[in-house]
Symmetry: C2
């Protein structure tokens, strides 16, 4: 069957570039520490590298709907547990649309040189509980596999002037538990990647 | 590069099977009417068919976390707008874990005969706003493309005995608006599929 060719030379140069960026990001303290080891491990492999990754985070955004990206204002972002003390001042800000506190689980983008590696990655991800993973593009620059769990939960804090949350402390605790669930899944993925021969 | 072969004979028999099941589902009124026309259209194509599809829905589930499937009890399910009158009695039920009202946007699984068709589908889906779509498996039975939007929002109604929702009417209205956003996206996808040469 017809298969778009991955240009290996282009792919190798993209890998070099991604690795350089990763080292620079470490230098400036930009790399999310919970995912650093996994990325380093993947860079020891010949046929795959990571382009972007997040170990999970909590954000507060001002947007009509929580799934919007371009139209959303990010008011808060943290890759670690949150506290009521951090969130309360935001709750008192005026909301243009709606304030959503969003917990996101880990997301990693892999770029694979060949379809075989991409399919292996998908299988590993699925077994590790990342059920929403898929190949999101195939082109001369490589095969991009998005590995993502189902952990993504928005909490409505405020709609216009009206505060919609009944018990902020409860939401904060729940958000922290969800974030932790995501980090545990990432650990599992790392273990499965190490055990597999990718 | 290595590509797992799709067995065309197997694929054709799976397509026949899916079509038969679709006709039976129509017969017993099981087919979600908002997605029926789209499926019928796809069955006029030679190299792709749909296996499962949902035009979007509202559920209420009892589960520790809203992303859980096997461990969740579904207490309510509707593919149309909901009302406070429908949800209120559920709110008064005892929750084993937590009660979540979940709005899900449309999800469609396509099975493509070749990678070229799968990639075309992905591009169409992305352009229509289904940003979370991907190829989720490749095997002898075909290439499965999951087309899904970012519309998936759980609202925490109750945690154990404690009611967590402050304004149920507000949540119900918001859920209906989100459901509508999803149905509008599905319309757009249908239009894009008709316009494209898949």
């Amino acid at each position: 069957m017809y298969v778009p060719e991955v240009n290996e030379k282009l792919w190798r140069s993209k890998r070099e570039e991604a690795y350089k960026r990763f080292l620079e990001d470490i230098e400036i303290g930009y790399v999310d520490r919970d995912v650093r080891e996994l990325i380093e491990f993947v860079f020891t492999k010949r046929n795959v590298f990571t382009t972007s990754s997040c170990s999970g985070r909590v954000t507060v955004v001002d947007a009509t709907y929580p799934w919007l990206r371009e139209e959303a204002d990010i008011l808060f972002k943290k890759h670690d547990s949150i506290s009521v003390r951090e969130i309360l001042p935001i709750l008192n800000q005026k909301a243009l649309h709606r304030l959503w506190l969003i917990v996101s689980g880990p997301i990693i983008h892999f770029n694979a040189l060949d379809l075989n590696t991409a399919i292996k990655l998908l299988t590993i991800a699925r077994n590790a509980g990342f059920k929403h993973s898929g190949i999101i593009s195939i082109g001369s620059g490589g095969i991009v596999v998005e590995i993502v769990s189902g952990i993504w939960v928005p909490f409505l804090l405020k709609d216009g002037d009206e505060i919609m949350v009944k018990n902020l402390e409860h939401v904060v605790n729940l958000a922290n538990n969800m974030l932790y669930e995501g980090k545990a899944k990432l650990e599992k993925l790392f273990k499965f990647l190490r055990d597999a021969n990718i």
